[in-house]
Every structure is written in structure tokens, then in C-alpha cells.
């Protein structure tokens, strides 16, 4: 009978509709506390799951999923503890955060409770107002958006635009609605279990994995039944709050699933490596080392100089090794050079800054390189560590055009390393400007300034060489992959613009237009072009062929950085004018020298002169100011 299925569907739907939670206006309260069964995360890490084109440990997926849905890797069901509470270590039990493993396992194994828990992060106030939800709340439950015609309308409009043109520009509301929808869909896939694709494909290494529900479709019953029964037992143990039994079943499940298709399942060493990388936080430890090194080096300038210097070296090298370890694991997991998204470039720049500083410090033994590199590296790494929604640390497959490790190394790694060299120059320039403006009293200080000038120039040399090589080789790559050498794509154009700025600076130095102070100011100003090429093209302009790197967020940080730098330069200039020394604009365009020696104010000469007791006339224009 044709009517039969319709009737059945209607009968089944009726109670389901009744069971749907009512849409409430106020914040729904978490129904029950999330149980803590003491999950064995090691066992959980042995469970591989396929997600977004990659197999990874379950522990990685839980973190990524919670970050997507909740915008944070920790869930606070009853609100975050206050700063005072955290500082005084007096966080009440109900305000403690719950980690991603516990949250997402509960979502997976006890989905019914999660329809009404406010876990979806929505921060965009205009969207909240447009959707008619409380604009003062940050977190919402799935059921609150279940029936929301305004949201559906926005989504439909956005999708129609995208259907007509994949790169259509959307209004902010539509953009935010799509982002909210991604969170909803991620959560719904978890609730339905489809997000947790833990059943390996029977034969194909690149085949699609299925969730537990698909076990019996992929494997004969004799193989599937025990696994399924075990999984059910695991769930029952979880629901019963029996942590011991749960962990035992979990471990068993992981081995059973591996046993189903051993050739397809990722090796346990790889899974363990990724788990280790996740837990170890090498980049966090690295910045802690660099921060300690900075403190040690800064306080031991006059006092205990020798041991302090050695201790600083030790700490910097320790941090450096930690970063190498971190990169080793990232490369092991992803199988590519670690410079393929904003997060990776930021940590690579921190790495490059330290690398160049260590090399140059080993040559010049001046302490300045380490002192300059440490704060730059610390700030970069902290930024990467603290902003996971803007700088996404997760590892995803690359777009096809980037899947060529040779070119990635030749082009991207080179360019990003040049950013690091320029960042080092920027950091040295700050030291120079502070020293020049406020601490240059003696002849000895002037000598130090000249030294710093040379160091800035040395860093710029590295940067210019790498940036020139990287940009040009990018053209060669583009010729291969895009079929043209140079097409004035914004990314390549800004790389060129930055290169031209630095070339102008270096050439200005040749003719004596700029000296120490001018070089320092120039290093700061030119870095703004690097910032545009690095961040601005992807996050502000948003045009061109390098579209795989586009993103949003972080504008306030970058704008703040630019404003701070410009303010700092203004302050230096004011201070200089007040002192009257560089009234003509900072000595950059200062005293004329004979044409024949105009090309002589180079780093080489400064370098030579540091060995002599006196400085050349051109470099001492400010003495006595």
C-alpha cells in the first residue's frame, strides 16, 4: 500500500515532535552535569578517526570540534571563572572548565542532553539582534536555532549567492550566519554520530571511513558484530558512569577497529606522535624558555654578565630545540613544510628570528641579537598560542596547488624566513631607537649604536636575499602551476612592494641619506609593508590567486601593532627634535659628505670602525647633543 509508509512516518513523527524541547526565551540551563568517568586519553588517542580528509587521533578531533562549535578548547558550562578566582586559585567546582575530550565524548555518547545545552558560540551582536536572540549572551543551544526563520532566510540568501558565484561577496550578516551554521552542523553531526567516522575503509587507504552505524555495511556480520557489541558495551559503561569498564572497552574498541583493516589504519606510532605533539605543547614551552632568556639577558647586562650571557644562550638554545621538536612533529603528521597557514607562518617566523639571531650572535657575540630575538619570538608564539580561532593550529590537507613540497620549501619557506629576518631587524631597530633616544650619553654608547646599526644591516641583508629569491622563485612556480610568471596578484605585488621598500632603504644608506637612526626607522616602516604582504593581503584585501590563505579576524591586533609602532616612531622623532640633534629629520638626511665617499657609509665601514677606538665623522653627528 502506498499510504502505509506515510502513515508510519506520521505515527513516528508525532512523538518526536512532542519530544522536541520548547523554544525558550531565556538561557536554558544545563540539564545535568557532565559526568567525569576519568577518560583514559591515551586509549582515546589510539582511536583513529577520519575527518576533513585526514585520519587523526580522536583526541585531535575532539579539540578541533569543540573549538569550532564553542570557539574555545575548554567548555565552561556555568560561565568562566573570574580573573581573581583564577589568580587566587579559588575557582568554584561548578565554574571549572571541562576539556574537549570529556565534552565531545559526552556529546557523542549521550546526545540527547546536548540539544539544550548552551554550547554554540555566537559573538556577532548584529546577527544576534537579527535572529531575535538575547544579544547579551555568548553561548546558545542547538534547540534555540531549530526554528528560526530569520536564520533560514539569511542562510538561503547566502547560499543562493554562493550557488550563483562561488566567490560571491557576502554581507557580514550572511557571512556570520554561514559561520553559525557550520557550528550547528558540526554539533548535529556529532549528535547523530556521523562526525565520528572511526570505522576504517575495508581496503582503500584513501577510501571513506564510516561511523559506527555503518559498521555492518562495510564488514561481514562475523567481523562487525563483536566490534559493534563492544562499542555498545562501551557506551553503556559510559552512561552508567563506570570509568574502569569504559576505558577497558575503549581500548578494546581501538584495537578491534585496527584489526578490521590493518593496512588502512594509521600506524600506532603516528597516532601516538600526534597525541604526544598535542599534549606536549612544544611551542608553548619554547616561548617560556625565550621569555626566561630575555629576563636573564636583560638583568645581567652589568651584573654577572658572563654567567648571565651563558645562561641566556642556554635558554635560547633550549627554546630553539623545543621549536625544532615541534616542527619535527608537525612535519611528521602533515608530511609537508610547516608554512601553509597563518598559524604555521607565525611560529615559523618566531623560529626564523631565533635562528638568524643565534647565527649572528655566534659571529658577533654582542648579546643584542638574543635580546632582540627573544621578545619578537615570545610575542609571535604567544599570539599563536592564544588566538586559536584566528590562527588555527589544526592540521588540514592542503589545496591541490600547494601540494608540492619542493616548491613550498623554495618559495614559501624562503619568503616566510625573510619575514623573520626583517622582524629581527625590527626588533634590533627598537633597541637602537630606545638606546639612541634615551640612553646614548657616552662615546661608548655611540660605539654601541654603530654596532647595532651594523646588526640591523646584517639582518636586512638576510631578509633582502631571502625575499628577493623567494619572490622571484614564486614567479617560477607560478609559471608552472598557474601558467604565467608574473600576474600582479596582490600577494606577489605586495612581496615586491616590500622588497622595493627595503631595497630603497639599503640604497639610501649607500648614498648616505640614512644612517643608523634612519636605518632603524626605515626597518620599522618597511616592516609595515611586510605586514601588509603577510597579513593584509589575506585578511584585509582578500583578492587574488593566493585565496587559499584568506581568513578573517585579528584586525584589531594588527591595527594596534601598527598604531603602536607609528606612535613609537613619533615619540622617538619628537625626543630627537627636542634634543636638537637630528633637527633635519633624524640624521637620515643629515650632513652632506663628498660625493666620492657618499657610497661609503656602509655597514662594512661601520664594522671596520668598531674595531677602531674612534668613529668616522659621519657617524658621530649627534655626539654632544
Amino acid at each position: 500500500m502506498r499510504l502505509f509508509p506515510i502513515l508510519c512516518a506520521a505515527l513516528l513523527a508525532a512523538p518526536a515532535l512532542q519530544a522536541m524541547p520548547p523554544v525558550t526565551e531565556s538561557a536554558p540551563q544545563a540539564t545535568a552535569p557532565i559526568p567525569d568517568v576519568g577518560i583514559d586519553t591515551e586509549a582515546l588517542g589510539r582511536l583513529a578517526v577520519q575527518n576533513q580528509g585526514r585520519t587523526k587521533p580522536m583526541t585531535t578531533l575532539t579539540g578541533e570540534a569543540l573549538l569550532t562549535i564553542h570557539g574555545s578548547s575548554v567548555y565552561y558550562p556555568n560561565g568562566k571563572p573570574t580573573f581573581v578566582q583564577r589568580m587566587t586559585r579559588s575557582v568554584p567546582a561548578e565554574n571549572r572548565g571541562i576539556d574537549a575530550d570529556r565534552v565531545m565524548l559526552d556529546v557523542w555518547l549521550r546526545p540527547e542532553a546536548w540539544q539544550t545545552r548552551p554550547i554554540i558560540y555566537l559573538g556577532h551582536r548584529p546577527l544576534k539582534e537579527a535572529l531575535g536572540v538575547d544579544p547579551d549572551r555568548q553561548y546558545f543551544s542547538l534547540s534555540e536555532f531549530a526554528v528560526n526563520p530569520a536564520l533560514q532566510q539569511l542562510l538561503q540568501r547566502a547560499r543562493m549567492k554562493r550557488a550563483a558565484n562561488e566567490r560571491a561577496e557576502l554581507e557580514p550578516l550572511e557571512e556570520q550566519a554561514l559561520s553559525l551554521d557550520t557550528k550547528r552542523i558540526t554539533l548535529m553531526k556529532w549528535l547523530g554520530g556521523t562526525a565520528v567516522a572511526i570505522v576504517p575503509h575495508p581496503s582503500e587507504p584513501t577510501g571513506q571511513w564510516s561511523p559506527l552505524a555503518g559498521l555492518r555495511d562495510s564488514y561481514p556480520p562475523a567481523q562487525a558484530q563483536p566490534v559493534f557489541a563492544n562499542a555498545m558495551a562501551m557506551r553503556d559503561a559510559y552512561l552508567a558512569g563506570d570509568g574502569g569498564a569504559f576505558n577497558a572497552k575503549l581500548g578494546e574498541l581501538a584495537s578491534q577497529l585496527r584489526g578490521l583493516s590493518p593496512s588502512v589504519y594509521p600506524s600506532s606510532s603516528l597516532l601516538a606522535a600526534e597525541k604526544y605533539y598535542q599534549d606536549f605543547h612544544p611551542f608553548r614551552w619554547a616561548w617560556i624558555c625565550y621569555l626566561l632568556a630575555l629576563i636573564v639577558l636583560a638583568v645581567t647586562g652589568r651584573w654577572m654578565a658572563r654567567p648571565g650571557y651563558l645562561a641566556g644562550w642556554g635558554l635560547v638554545l633550549t627554546g630553539f630545540v623545543l621549536q625544532v621538536v615541534g616542527f619535527y612533529y608537525r612535519i611528521l603528521i602533515s608530511g609537508r613544510p610547516p608554512v601553509t597557514n597563518m598559524y604555521e607562518t607565525v611560529i615559523w617566523v618566531a623560529f626564523g628570528v631565533v635562528l638568524f639571531a643565534v647565527v649572528l650572535e655566534a659571529i658577533y657575540r654582542s648579546r643584542w641579537f638574543l635580546l632582540a630575538a627573544c621578545p619578537a619570538a615570545v610575542l609571535s608564539l604567544i599570539l599563536a598560542d592564544m588566538q586559536p580561532t584566528v590562527l588555527d593550529p589544526s592540521i588540514h590537507p592542503l589545496v591541490p596547488v600547494l601540494r608540492h613540497n619542493t616548491w613550498l620549501i623554495i618559495h614559501v619557506l624562503t619568503i616566510v624566513s625573510s619575514y623573520a629576518a626583517f622582524l629581527l631587524a625590527l626588533a634590533l631597530a627598537h633597541i637602537y631607537l630606545v638606546k639612541d633616544g634615551w640612553f646614548a650619553r657616552t662615546r661608548e654608547d655611540q660605539r654601541g649604536l654603530q654596532e647595532l646599526h651594523t646588526f640591523i644591516y646584517r639582518s636586512l641583508q638576510i631578509g633582502v636575499l631571502l625575499l628577493a629569491a623567494g619572490t622571484i622563485l614564486g614567479g617560477v612556480w607560478a609559471n608552472y602551476s598557474w601558467g604565467r610568471f608574473w600576474g600582479w596578484d596582490p600577494k606577489e605585488t605586495w612581496a615586491l612592494a616590500a622588497l622595493l621598500c627595503y631595497l630603497a632603504l639599503i640604497h639610501s644608506r649607500l648614498v648616505g641619506w640614512v644612517r643608523g637612526y634612519g636605518m632603524a626607522v626605515g626597518s620599522v616602516l618597511c616592516f609595515l609593508a611586510i605586514l601588509m604582504s603577510w597579513y593584509g593581503v589575506n585578511f584585509i584585501l582578500g583578492k587574488g590567486l593566493h585565496s587559499y590563505g584568506f581568513g578573517t579576524g585579528g584586525q584589531e591586533y594588527v591595527a594596534g601593532f601598527v598604531a603602536l609602532e607609528l606612535g613609537f616612531l613619533g615619540l622617538c622623532e619628537l625626543n630627537r627634535r627636542r634634543k636638537g640633534g637630528g633637527a633635519k629629520g633624524g640624521g637620515a638626511r643629515g650632513a652632506k659628505r663628498p660625493v666620492s665617499t657618499a657610497a661609503g657609509a656602509s655597514g662594512e665601514q661601520a664594522e671596520v670602525s668598531t674595531a677602531k677606538p674612534t668613529s668616522p665623522a659621519g657617524e658621530t653627528e649627534k655626539v654632544g647633543a
Binding site: R2, I6, Q50, N51, Q52, G53, R54, T55, A164, P205, T206, W209, P397, P400, V401, R403, H404, W407, Q461, V464, L465, A468, I472, L473, G475, V476, W477, N479, Y480, S481, W482, G483, R484, F485, W486, W488, P490, T493, W494, L496, A497, L500, C501, L503, A504, H507, S508, V511, A529, V537, K543, P594, S596, T597, A599, G600, S602, E604, Q605, V608
Partner: protein
């Protein structure tokens, strides 16, 4: 400083032996003073000039990226990167580099890094120039089931005009993306040999061909109607061109609320609302409704009806005795309008029978002479017709069961001078009359009204190109879903003010325009680059990331056929690896080859692959130049004696020498 006199030879002889630094410096100073050429070299090769140039170019390209972000890529390309002033800047940079290198002549070992770097940049720029002049970039879209291609499209758009005056073809670059001509700011093209102008006053990428009726000279051509439906309230106007079909009724829905029917001629009013026959074998199952009646003869007024329609169809069945029938009954079906049909029961048993003018199928799958219910199932207690009951199944088109919509029926009058109309509501005629050209009829459907704009006694369908209202037109009734085409709006203008009517001309098609009977052929479209070989897409595959739809690569298998030699070659283009044709080593190295790079795909059509094609004879120079720049900078910064340190040392010597002289 000046130790020489103007009478000395202008170009100092190039010394054969290496000069010591001081002599060399003197030589350079001397020639600058004496020769205009060397003075110019000194100025153009000066570092100051270089710095100004570098900063200027950096600022310009930086601004260009912002222009690109705010407007669009073609705008930035047209107004900045490809603009004359910018090319001039690059040329000046070239001059500066060459002059800088020349001004240090004669070169010494310490200049190696400097010369290699600067010559590298010049080589790179020359290579780019050669590529721009003798090479090309184009693209081609291939289908695995499509034909081989022997031409490429360049990114550039051209406007070509052939005027009858001299028969010659004139063409101009026509950057439509960057320079959108408008009626206020048209683009004018003088036609050589005439005093006419081609005026392009618009460009659109949203052109569609709209059907229109136009007069026909065929004596048997049908009547053509050019109708317009308009509603002030909904702010809509629909154009409805029709050719009256002599064989059948044309139906045009007006959204979901009403419909218009064009009849060859009107039948009698009684037939209105009579259901139309249904073509049962060809109707898809989902278009059918199915209704089941269980009817007992003694309680025929209380049938049990189940239906998958929203409401029962309204047909009822009753029994009547018929002694001639083996079962002893006739079954009578009464329609919702009251019309009745009658069959002997035996005729319907187990056999589908057409009913209601062929719009329904009726079948009786079960007959119980003595109906009863036993353990929940219907049974017959005996074969005696004590309590006769039947199960009847009824099939029909779902559409025919919908409540009748308000309908406007139209038909041309006998003399083809007017149209007759009937307005129906609930299948009842509520208005009728005749409509002549230019007349308007209020329909009583909200404020919709119908205008007969033209009535053509003999007509045919033609088409006119028009700009579509919006990019997101998904309503098929308004031409949505059809591909959008691009074209220009153009007309011819004479100096005395006479002009043709502006019309949309589609791209890629030659359009004749006439003024004073003089034809002018206008063509507009992408520049086409002919190839001396054919390229065919043999297969195209898109491997995906494990378990996702995300492409991991794009692989095109290409076959190249040389038309003259008849030879074929194969190539594979995938991401980061282009296919080369011809792919001999030396051709690849020197760029004398066609590079097919994977450029695009169509996620909805996996037979389609788009390839970027590059022919670049400047390739080798670009490579050498690139290498030179990298090596040169390295030498400058890090190789003692080839750029580093030695310079500083001898600069000190020079300085000392110059000071001594002074």
C-alpha cells in the same frame, strides 16, 4: 678635482690593463664631466634616482592592490599595471639599472656581485618584455566528450569592425571589465573611410535572448499574439509572446494563482471544466493520485474512502441491479459535477477501465457477494449476494483534481482581427468579449490586467536580446536559469545626427548594422589565438581527499595533433605540472613550447577542464635573470672580493686618493 680640459677626446679609450682603483675613479669622474653621454649615464644610474624610482613603484603597486580590492582585478590591470605610465616606470627602472652598471665601467672583480644582480634584473625584465611581445597567455576549455580545439581565448576583449567603405577590418582593445561604457560615457570608434562612428554605450554580462513574435510572410503562418500582463500592486510586467497552435491548447500559468489558455477556437461552454484525458502510460507515478473506496450496496451512502490526495476526489459509487450481468449489478460512478457513468460490475472486476472522458482509471480488485468481517479481514460469508460489497480503486492525474484556478481563455476571431476572451471562475464563465490591438482588459485577479500589444495575422517566433533584470533570476517563467551572455549596446552615428537604434549585440557573433544602406559588420568578443595543432581532452579526473569531496588534484590527459605533419603526442597536465607541447628538452628550456597548466574545473560537470596555455619565448631569459639576481645578491652580501669587504677596503683607498688630490 678637474684636472682635464674639454679638448680631450670625449670617449676615453678603454684601458687594456686593469686600472688601479684611484686611476679608475679618476677616469670615471673625468668622462662624466666631458661627455654628455656619460653625464646622462651618471644621472640615470645614480643611486638617488634609483631610490626615488623604487619608492615610487612601491607606492604605485601598493595603491594598485587597494584599487583591485575595492574595484576589481581588471580595473587595476587596466588603469595601473598595464597602463602606459606604469610601463614607463618599469622602463625607467631598466634604464636606471643599465646606467648604474655602465657608470661603473670598467668593472673590476669587486663589482661581480653588483653587475650580476643588476644585469640579472635587466635580463629578467627583457625576458618579460619578449614574453609580452612574442609570447601569449590564453586559456581553453575542453570537454572529454567534446571536440578537439585549435584555438585559444586570450584574456583580452576585442572590438572588430568591418566597414563597407574599404572592406578592411579595424580592431581595437576593448577592456570591457575595466571600462564599462555607459550612455553618458560611451566609447566611440571612428570607421575609417567613412564619416560614421560606432558608438558603444553599454556592456552587460547578463544578456538573454527573449522570444518575441514577428510578422511572417508565410500565408499559412499562425496568428501571433504579443501580450503584456501587468500589475501595479506587484510592480510587475510580464511579456507573453504566443503563436496560436492550431492543434492544442497552450497554457501559461500566472505564478500559482491563475492561468491563461490560448485556444485554437472556443468549444461550447458546457465543456468548460470537463477533465482532460490523461495519458496514463506516460504519466510518472508521482503525478498520479490513488483513491480506494470500499462500498457496500446497502450502505452506498457511507463508503470508506482512503486517498493520497489532500481531500477526496468527490467521485461516488452506487449499486443498481442488472439482471444481465453475471454478478447481477451495475456500478454507477457520479462525478463531483453530477455527471454519471455506468458499467456492469463484471466489466470492472480486475480490469482497469477508462472513465470520465479518459481522465480516470477505475478498477474493482475485490468483490464480496456476502460481505462480512472475520478476524479483522473482509470475507464473503457465502456466494449469495446478500450483502454485496466492492473495493474500488481510482487512479487519475493529481493535477486534474486541483480546484480550478481563475482562467483567462483566448482565441483569435475568425477574421484574425481581434481576439475573443472568456474569463472563468470555478469553471463558470464570468466575463467574455473581444479585445483589439492596444486594448487593455482588467482581469479581476488582484489588479492584474492584460494588454494586447500586437496581433499579427501571420506570425513567427523570433528573439531579441535584452538585459536581464537581476543576477539572481531563478524564475523560469521570466527567463531564469537560461545562460547569461555578454554583449555590448551599440549603434552607428553620422555627423548630421542620424543614427541607428541602439541594440544589444551578443559577443562572439558578427552583427551587421545598416545606416543609409551601408552595412557595417561589428564583432565583439575575446581575442582568439589560433594554434597550429589540435588539442583534445582524452580524460579528466579529480582525485579527492580521503573521505571528502575536496579535490586533491586535477589531472587532464591531453592529446596533441599536428595538423600538417599528422603526428600526435600525449601529455598530462596536473596541478604544479603542466603538459608541454612540443616537449623536447631544448624547447622546454628555451620556452619554445606551449605549456598547458591546469587552471580550472567545473564541479557540476566533470567532463570539463580549463587549461591555461602559455607560450613564452622569454622563458630562458627570465630563468637566467632570476638566477642572476639571487646569486648576485648573495655575492654582494657574502662573498669576499666579489662584492663584500673588498669594496670597503678600496673605497677607503679611493677616499684617501681623492682627499690627497683636493
Amino acid at each position: 678635482m678637474a684636472t682635464t680640459t674639454p679638448q680631450k677626446p670625449v670617449n676615453p679609450p678603454v684601458p687594456k690593463t686593469p686600472l688601479d682603483p684611484v686611476e679608475r675613479k679618476e677616469l670615471i669622474f673625468r668622462r662624466r664631466r666631458e661627455s654628455l653621454f656619460w653625464a646622462a649615464v651618471a644621472i640615470f644610474g645614480s643611486v638617488k634616482f634609483a631610490v626615488v624610482l623604487l619608492v615610487t613603484i612601491a607606492v604605485v603597486v601598493g595603491a594598485a592592490t587597494i584599487v583591485e580590492s575595492v574595484y576589481d582585478t581588471p580595473v587595476a590591470l587596466y588603469y595601473i599595471y598595464n597602463a602606459t605610465f606604469f610601463i614607463l616606470f618599469l622602463a625607467l627602472l631598466c634604464v636606471n639599472l643599465a646606467a648604474a652598471a655602465l657608470s661603473r665601467w670598467p668593472w673590476q672583480r669587486k663589482h661581480t656581485g653588483f653587475v650580476v644582480t643588476h644585469m640579472g634584473i635587466i635580463t629578467l625584465l627583457i625576458g618579460s618584455m619578449i614574453g609580452m611581445i612574442w609570447g601569449f597567455e590564453g586559456y581553453v576549455t575542453l570537454h572529454t566528450d567534446g571536440p578537439a580545439r585549435d584555438q585559444l581565448f586570450a584574456g583580452k576583449t576585442l572590438l572588430k569592425v568591418q566597414s563597407a567603405a574599404d572592406g578592411g577590418i579595424d580592431q581595437m582593445d576593448f577592456p570591457v571589465d575595466a571600462y564599462g561604457p555607459t550612455p553618458e560615457a560611451p566609447l566611440n570608434m571612428e570607421l575609417p573611410g567613412t564619416d560614421l562612428q560606432l558608438v558603444v554605450s553599454g556592456y552587460s554580462e547578463q544578456l538573454q535572448r527573449q522570444p518575441v513574435v514577428e510578422p511572417s510572410i508565410a500565408p499559412l503562418a499562425p496568428v501571433g499574439l504579443d501580450l503584456a500582463m501587468s500589475s501595479g500592486m506587484m510592480n510587475q510586467e510580464l511579456e507573453l509572446p504566443f503563436l496560436v497552435d492550431l492543434g492544442e491548447v497552450l497554457t501559461q500559468p500566472l505564478f500559482t494563482m491563475a492561468k491563461i489558455e490560448i485556444h485554437p477556437s472556443f468549444g461550447p461552454e458546457e465543456e468548460i471544466g470537463r477533465p482532460a484525458p490523461v495519458d496514463f502510460p506516460n504519466l510518472p507515478p508521482e503525478a498520479l493520485f490513488r483513491e480506494m473506496h470500499v462500498v457496500l450496496a446497502q450502505h452506498a451512502d457511507q463508503p470508506v474512502i482512503t486517498t493520497d490526495l489532500g481531500r477526496a476526489s468527490g467521485y461516488r459509487f452506487t449499486f443498481e441491479e442488472n439482471r444481465n450481468d453475471p454478478r447481477g449489478f451495475d456500478l454507477i460512478m457520479t462525478g463531483p459535477g453530477g455527471a454519471a457513468e455506468r458499467w456492469p460490475l463484471s466489466d470492472l472486476l480486475g480490469k482497469a477501465t477508462l472513465a470520465a472522458n479518459g481522465s480516470l482509471q477505475v478498477v474493482v480488485p475485490e468483490y464480496w457477494p456476502d460481505f462480512d468481517i472475520s478476524s479483522g479481514r473482509p470475507v464473503s460469508k457465502s456466494d449469495e449476494p446478500n450483502n454485496p460489497g466492492v473495493r474500488i480503486e481510482l487512479f487519475g492525474a493529481r493535477a486534474s483534481m486541483e480546484p480550478p484556478k481563475p482562467t483567462l481563455q483566448l482565441t483569435p476571431t475568425e477574421d484574425r482581427a481581434a481576439i475573443a476572451y472568456r474569463l472563468l471562475r470555478e469553471n463558470q464563465v464570468v466575463g467574455s468579449g473581444e479585445l483589439r490591438e492596444g486594448e487593455t482588459l482588467p482581469l479581476g485577479w488582484a489588479d492584474w490586467q492584460l494588454t494586447l500589444r500586437r496581433l499579427l495575422p501571420q506570425a513567427q517566433m523570433g528573439s531579441v536580446t535584452e538585459e536581464s533584470a537581476g543576477a539572481l533570476n531563478l524564475d523560469p517563467a521570466a527567463g531564469g536559469g537560461q545562460p547569461m551572455m555578454r554583449g555590448i549596446r551599440a549603434h552607428l552615428a553620422a555627423p548630421d545626427g542620424r543614427a541607428t537604434e541602439p541594440a544589444w549585440l551578443l559577443g562572439g557573433i558578427t552583427h551587421p548594422l545598416y545606416l543609409d544602406g551601408r552595412p557595417v559588420q561589428v564583432w565583439f568578443g575575446p581575442e582568439i589565438i589560433p594554434l597550429h595543432f589540435d588539442v583534445k581532452l582524452e580524460s579528466f579526473s579529480v582525485p579527492r581527499d580521503p573521505g571528502t569531496d575536496t579535490p586533491a588534484d586535477f589531472i587532464s590527459q591531453l592529446v596533441f595533433t599536428d595538423r600538417e605533419a599528422g603526428t600526435t603526442a600525449r601529455g598530462e597536465a596536473h596541478m604544479n605540472t603542466p603538459a608541454l607541447y612540443p616537449d623536447s628538452f631544448w624547447r622546454a628550456v628555451t620556452g619554445q613550447t606551449y605549456k598547458f597548466s591546469q587552471a580550472g574545473w567545473n564541479r557540476h560537470d566533470l567532463t570539463e577542464s580549463r587549461l591555461q596555455v602559455l607560450y613564452d619565448p622569454g622563458w630562458l631569459l627570465k630563468w637566467v635573470g632570476s638566477l642572476g639576481i639571487c646569486v648576485g645578491i648573495f655575492m654582494l652580501f657574502y662573498m669576499k672580493g666579489y662584492g663584500r669587504e673588498a669594496r670597503a677596503v678600496d673605497r677607503e683607498a679611493q677616499t684617501a686618493a681623492m682627499e690627497n688630490k683636493q
